[in-house]
């Protein structure tokens, strides 16, 4: 990857963004209204993710029932055609994917008010149609939107974003070329607060740079939250208008 100029002296990145700019962020909810109780379709740059939420419903297995609270189940399906080169194996039981699922469950477990839906199961499916770096953040955003569409009570939004560190410059919302060329940090931020629900660093970063990276990341995640909020409000207004015109 050394042939590519990740960050030009003029301050432009590979795809023409500046260091603190997000990728194109488009989302819609209630996209699969007959297949699920809540759904969303999210495009974050070239990441394309469909999320379906089914529930709260009666668990199919007795062992999936908890008398105190709802059980949250998240399965991530990374399609074989999601990258430029088609992968040979299905990613279903890869440890990396299992780890992602566990991290997502533990992130949303603390944010969804599970205690008000005892003896039920909330089943979330995420399908990754295309991936281009920072996929974990997109998964978080997709799930947040779908849960809201399903009307499941949550304390706040969780918004996810990845930040790379190129030499000493933090780059917001990395794509896959950037992700492969440098170390990156993934954040899951709760609402408009500075609280992190998820924090993953997988490569080396100098300890003293971490704080600036986190600060940029939190600002970026707040922007993502606002974009999601805007779309949700637009959608809600449309629905209200439809309902009142009938």
């Amino acid at each position: 990857m050394s042939r590519l100029e990740i960050y030009s002296p003029e301050g432009l990145r590979l795809d023409g963004r500046r260091w603190n700019e997000l990728r194109r962020f488009e989302c819609s909810i209630n996209t699969h209204s007959h297949a699920s109780d809540g759904s969303s379709y999210l495009e974050q740059g070239n990441n394309k993710v469909i999320t379906l939420v089914k529930g709260p419903k009666e668990p199919t297995l007795r062992s999936q029932m908890d008398t105190e609270k709802a059980i949250l189940k998240i399965s991530v399906n990374i399609t074989q055609f999601s990258k430029f080169e088609r992968s040979k194996s299905s990613h279903k039981n890869e440890r990396r994917v299992l780890e992602m699922q566990t991290a997502l469950i533990r992130t949303f477990e603390k944010n969804v008010m599970l205690n008000i839906y005892p003896r039920t199961l909330i089943d979330i499916e995420v399908h990754v149609l295309q991936q281009d770096g920072g996929i974990m953040g997109s998964l978080i955003n997709g799930i947040t939107l779908a849960l809201i569409d399903a009307g499941i009570a949550m304390y706040d939004y969780i918004s996810g974003v990845s930040i790379g560190l190129y030499d000493t410059t933090p780059l917001l919302d990395v794509n896959s070329l950037e992700e492969n060329a440098m170390s990156s940090v993934t954040l899951g931020v709760v609402g408009k607060s500075e609280k992190l629900s998820l924090l993953l660093v997988e490569d080396k970063i100098p300890l003293d740079r971490l704080e600036t990276v986190l600060a940029i990341g939190i600002a970026g995640a707040h922007r993502v939250r606002d974009l999601m909020d805007e779309e949700l409000r637009k959608h809600a207004e449309k629905r209200v208008a439809n309902a009142s015109s009938k």
């Binding site: 780890e99 566990t102 949303f108 477990e109 998820l198």
Partner: protein, 303 residues
Amino acid sequence: MAKDIEISNSESKFLLEALRQNYRLDGRLFDQFRDVEVTFGNEYGDVTVKMGDTRVHCRISCQISQPYEDRPFEGLFLISTENSPMAGPQFENGNNTDEDEILCARIIEKAVRRSGALDIEGLCIVAGSKCWAVRADVHFLNCDGGFIDASCIAVMAGLIHFKKPDITVHGEQVIIHPIEEREPTPLGILHIPICVTFSFFNPKETEENIKGESNEEITVIDATLKEELLRDGVLTVTLNKNREVVQVSKAGGLPMDALSLMSCCHKAYSITEKVTDQIVQAVKEDYKSRNKYSELLSSENAR
């Protein structure tokens, strides 16, 4: 079969109330790491690490193998972290699909293997056809919390301590010299990652944690098994002595303020420094006790 261990209501109330009053059941301070005890066996790369009641054994072994086709200049390195019922009845033999076990295996993998702690290019013998395959087998003997921290220390101490047999290469032919015949060579260690795990407890209601401004969550370093069972969130930070963050994993759990997470990282650094020195010192002392008579044999004299 063996179910997840459950903790009684009264015991959990007692533990949490004690935490609220600034006490831990084993009398440690909140930011006190348990004392680490590293002991070596007879052979190179045979390490037992004890932290309180937690006990982890690691065995490093090597053999000659063929490198991957797309990486002809690199040797192979594998870390195996399999649980057995020895560590406690909550573990099942050969079943490593449990959430915690996957997280533990992945964190050690990222901390040691992905971060390049072992110089795998130095394991190449004949490019494209022969290389050393180094294997670290981690055995969990007794579980009282802190498996990730203990096994990372065990793997790193094992890798530093291990020596592979010396070899001579004649074209495609390789002669392995048994360790009795020629002094074996140590592995190339590029840095020493140390994992430090923080556990978070929420003394108030969930709403206060998410909406509140007070940040009164309790942070505890190096939790014991009981604390692990009751915690609301966990953060594992891996650092090395060069002030590099190797890996951070906070996979969900209790939302925490970014600044308090940063202060955790800084606390972890001082522990990393201490533990790194301790490992290096322990290996040095073990080598010394092995070569008690080497001074007599050496040709140096006190001129």
